[in-house]
Structures are given as structure tokens and as C-alpha cells.
């Protein structure tokens, strides 16, 4: 074991982790924004809403992420009209290609998670809302969305962890994120064990942070499900009430 090498590689790997964070963070944000309307289309009863959403989810869940990355990165650049289009400055960059591929991928999974969450809301609530004359938008905003998002949390945190690990594939399109930079150092030092174990540790730490954040969010938004006496001491509430 070359501990000196491991120690010396930590700054490089941390730099790689920042890129990993960026890739996962932006894809997660864009993915969430796209997944919400997708899930609504997916639960629609109209076939021209349902079919495209179903097809989209079917395709992106049914193909490997690596294939999707290659399709976006190497595939699109094959066509001259894409290289001449206004999209090229973005599609030219491996950074954005990775984010596009990750976003498309995570949108499909998140959309399906949200679909399940929406359908988990008791139908009686929706009927009740309709009976008091709520519009469709208000129904969505007040009844469906707040509950569905909370129900989706555990599944969504799972999806994010998968996305984090999937982001290692960005190294195949020249991005020096955590895995990319690890592979590069290995190519120079021929010490795969030391560096992969170090990278693995960093992924574990990132995953740990992610799960803690989600646990906290989940705890925060599911207070209504817990009996009052189990509520933990919260700041700002005086002890003597």
C-alpha cells in the first residue's frame, strides 16, 4: 500500500469530487423540473398526454446510461446540421453533454417515482377537493403536490444515489470528475488499488452526506405523521410552555 500516494492524491480527487457534485447537482435540478410535468402527463387519462410520457420513461429506463451518454456525445456530433445549429456550442462541451444525458435519464426515473407518489394519494381527498369546487390547478397545488413530493422522498433519494454513482460514466467522455481523475492518476502511477479505494471512500462520504440531507428533509416534512409526544425538541420552542 502506497499511503503517500493516497495522501498526495486527495487534493486531485477532491477537485474531481467538485465536478461530480456539479454534474449531479445540475442534473438533479433540471431533472426534477422536467419530471414534475412528466409525471402529470404520465397519470393523465388522455392518450396523447399519456403515450409520449410513457414512451419517454420506457426508453430511458430501458437503455443503459452509458449508451445514452454516447448517443448524446458521440452520436449527435455525427450530424453536420447539429454541428451547424445554435445548439452546438452546448453540445460541443462534454460537460453539458453529460448533464443532458444525466438529466434525461433521471427525469425518466424521477417521473416514474412521482407517478407512484401521485397515485398513492387517497382518491377520496381528490373527490373531496373537487366537491368543494377547487380548480385543477388549486387541487394540484394544495392537495396533490405537497403530499406527493413527500411520499416520493425516499424513492427520490435512492434515485439520487444511483445518479451519483452513474456520474462516474462521465469519465468516458473525457470529464475528469472523481472517477475520471482517479483513472488518470492510475494510468500514470500503476497503483489501481490505492486510488480506487480512495475514490470509493469519497463516493461513500458523498452518499452519506446525501442520505443525511434527505433524512433531515424527510423528518422535517413528515412531522404530521408522528404522534406529538415523539416530536423532538425543536429550537425556538421554549421548554416551559
Amino acid at each position: 500500500m502506497d499511503f503517500a500516494l493516497m495522501l498526495n492524491s486527495i487534493p486531485d480527487l477532491l477537485r474531481g469530487s467538485i465536478l461530480t457534485f456539479e454534474l449531479v447537482g445540475l442534473s438533479m435540478l433540471f431533472g426534477m423540473l422536467m419530471a414534475m410535468p412528466l409525471s402529470l402527463l404520465r397519470v393523465s387519462k388522455r392518450i396523447w398526454c399519456l403515450a409520449p410520457a410513457y414512451g419517454y420513461i420506457f426508453f430511458f429506463r430501458g437503455t443503459p446510461l452509458l449508451v445514452q451518454i454516447f448517443l448524446v456525445y458521440y452520436g449527435l456530433s455525427q450530424f453536420a446540421w447539429i454541428k451547424e445549429s445554435i445548439m452546438w456550442p452546448i453540445l460541443r462541451e462534454p460537460y453539458w453533454c453529460a448533464i443532458i444525458a444525466f438529466t434525461l435519464n433521471t427525469t425518466a426515473y424521477t417521473g416514474e417515482i412521482l407517478r407512484g407518489a401521485i397515485q398513492a394519494i387517497p382518491h377520496g381527498q381528490i373527490e373531496a377537493a373537487q366537491s368543494v369546487g377547487m380548480s385543477r390547478i388549486m387541487l394540484l397545488r394544495r392537495i396533490i403536490a405537497p403530499q406527493a413530493l413527500v411520499i416520493a422522498l425516499p424513492g427520490y433519494s435512492n434515485e439520487l444515489i444511483l445518479l451519483l454513482k452513474g456520474s462516474a460514466l462521465a469519465s468516458t467522455i473525457t470529464l475528469l470528475e472523481l472517477t475520471g481523475i482517479t483513472r488518470k492518476i492510475i494510468a500514470e502511477t500503476y497503483k489501481p488499488f490505492e486510488l480506487f479505494i480512495l475514490a470509493a471512500c469519497m463516493y461513500v462520504v458523498i452518499t452519506f452526506i446525501l442520505t443525511r440531507i434527505f433524512n433531515w428533509v424527510e423528518h422535517r416534512f413528515t412531522a404530521y405523521r408522528r404522534p406529538p409526544e415523539l416530536m423532538e425538541d425543536q429550537e425556538g420552542i421554549p421548554d416551559n410552555i
Binding site: Y74, Q78, W88, E188
Partner: protein
């Protein structure tokens, strides 16, 4: 018993040395299975860069067709055959390595495995620190060329590392890279293929010995200083008069030797 061994060794030595010395014919060994460097043509004759270089050297040394002979020797028996005096020199694209230097002597190198920068036609790229400033160059990771780029251009060039030569060529075609750097032999054959259309070699081949190694040379037995000097003189001569370049150009569109040294 001991005497018998000594006697036999002596007989063998005399017999083999007699073979090589017989009639003062210079025997040149090559492998004949390493296209385009040395190979057997359908009619049974030898051809290739090594073979033509060997012929040019022989001519330069004033040897007639009867004064030298090309023989085919399998690769693994090449150095043992030389040491056993079955032939006198090896012209078979043999790279100079420390291990081989323990067993045989080498002339000056007659070619180097070089690297070539390739860019799109008309890119008007100048291969220098100035010309490559701010450019993106692709290279296969963990290769000689990656080390070279990092060693020489790291401060001005955005180096992108690829898992394969094919992938950086794809990105060169796609316009994501301003240039790529890879083995000249590979790149020149790629440029001749359909995928390589529209791209061209730019600048001089990369042949920095600090990164590339010592080159490819003719091997001969240690101690044959006179032959070595003759070969080196002949090599200098065919390089100086352009014969070397003319031969190399038949096989490679890029320089495989730094003629301007």
C-alpha cells in the same frame, strides 16, 4: 568428457563462423513478417522499409549484389542467430532497449516511432507553444504521447484524455478538438481510410528522445567496431543524400526520422 565438450564447442564455433565468413558475404537478417517494415511479397522476394534501407546501406558501403545476402529469420531466434554467427547484422525494426544492449551492439537509429499532430484540413495550426495556446488537444491516456503533451504543453494546451485513439479521432471529426496527437504510423493509415478524410497531419513529427526512447537501429555483434562504423557512415550518407527519406516516403506520409537534426 570435459575435453569432448571443449572440442565440440570449438568445432561448432569454427563451423558457424566459417559459414558467416564464407566468401566474405555480409549476411543481413530480417523477419519478413512485419508489414510494412519487412515482409515477403507474393513472388517470394523481400520488401519493406527495413529491406530497402538495408539494400541502400549495402549499396552505399560499396557492396555488389553478390557481396551481401538477405536472410529471413524468425523473431525469437534473431539475436541468438546473430550471436551464433548465422548472419552479421539485423535490420528488422529492432528497437534499442537496455536489455538488448546487454547482448548486442546497435548502430545509430535509422528511424523513430514518432507522434503526429493531426488536425482538420485548413485549420492552419502551428505546432508550437505559441500556436497551440488555448487549443484543445486529444490524446490517448497513459501513452508516450500523453506524457509528451503533459510534459511540454501542459501550461498552454487544454489536454483531453481518451480511452482510445478511435474516440479522440471521433471528437476531432466532431470539431470538439483542435488537434490530436498519436503514433504517426497509426494516424497515417487512419488518414488514408475513409474516416480520416478531411483531416491532415500538421507540423513536424514528435520525436523527442526524452519521451520516445532511443529509436530503432541495426543490431550487430559487440566488438565488430569496424562494421558498426561502416554502417553508421553509410546511414549518415543515405540520410544526407535523401535516399532514406525517399524510401521512408514510399511507406509513410510522415517523417519517421528527424532529418533536420
Amino acid at each position: 568428457m570435459k575435453k569432448a565438450v571443449v572440442f565440440l564447442t570449438l568445432v561448432l564455433f569454427l563451423a558457424t563462423s566459417g559459414l558467416a565468413m564464407g566468401g566474405d558475404v555480409l549476411k543481413i537478417a530480417t523477419e519478413g513478417a512485419y508489414r510494412p517494415f519487412n515482409y515477403v511479397k507474393p513472388d517470394g522476394s523481400l520488401s519493406g522499409l527495413d529491406v530497402e534501407i538495408a539494400r541502400a546501406l549495402a549499396a552505399e558501403m560499396g557492396l555488389d549484389k553478390d557481396d551481401y545476402e538477405l536472410v529471413i529469420q524468425e523473431w525469437d531466434g534473431m539475436i541468438p542467430g546473430l550471436l551464433a554467427r548465422k548472419f552479421d547484422v539485423i535490420v528488422a525494426s529492432m528497437s534499442i532497449t537496455d536489455k538488448r544492449k546487454e547482448a548486442v551492439a546497435f548502430t545509430e537509429p535509422y528511424y523513430y516511432e514518432t507522434g503526429s499532430f493531426v488536425a482538420k484540413e485548413g485549420a492552419d495550426l502551428e505546432i508550437s507553444k505559441q500556436g497551440l495556446k488555448g487549443k484543445t488537444v486529444g490524446v490517448q491516456t497513459a501513452t508516450t504521447w500523453a506524457r509528451y503533451l503533459e510534459g511540454v504543453y501542459a501550461d498552454v494546451v487544454d489536454i483531453k484524455f481518451y480511452d482510445s485513439v478511435q474516440n479522440h479521432n471521433l471528437d476531432l471529426k466532431a470539431g470538439r478538438l483542435d488537434a490530436v496527437l498519436a503514433t504517426s504510423f497509426y494516424m497515417s493509415s487512419w488518414l488514408e481510410s475513409e474516416e480520416g478524410q478531411g483531416c491532415e497531419i500538421v507540423g513536424e513529427p514528435v520525436s523527442n528522445p526524452n519521451y520516445i526512447g532511443e529509436g530503432v537501429a541495426i543490431a550487430l555483434r559487440k566488438g565488430e567496431t569496424e562494421l558498426k562504423e561502416d554502417l553508421n557512415a553509410a546511414l549518415d550518407a543515405i540520410i544526407a543524400d535523401g535516399t532514406h527519406k525517399k524510401i521512408a516516403r514510399k511507406y509513410f506520409p510522415v517523417d519517421i526520422y528527424p532529418y533536420e537534426k
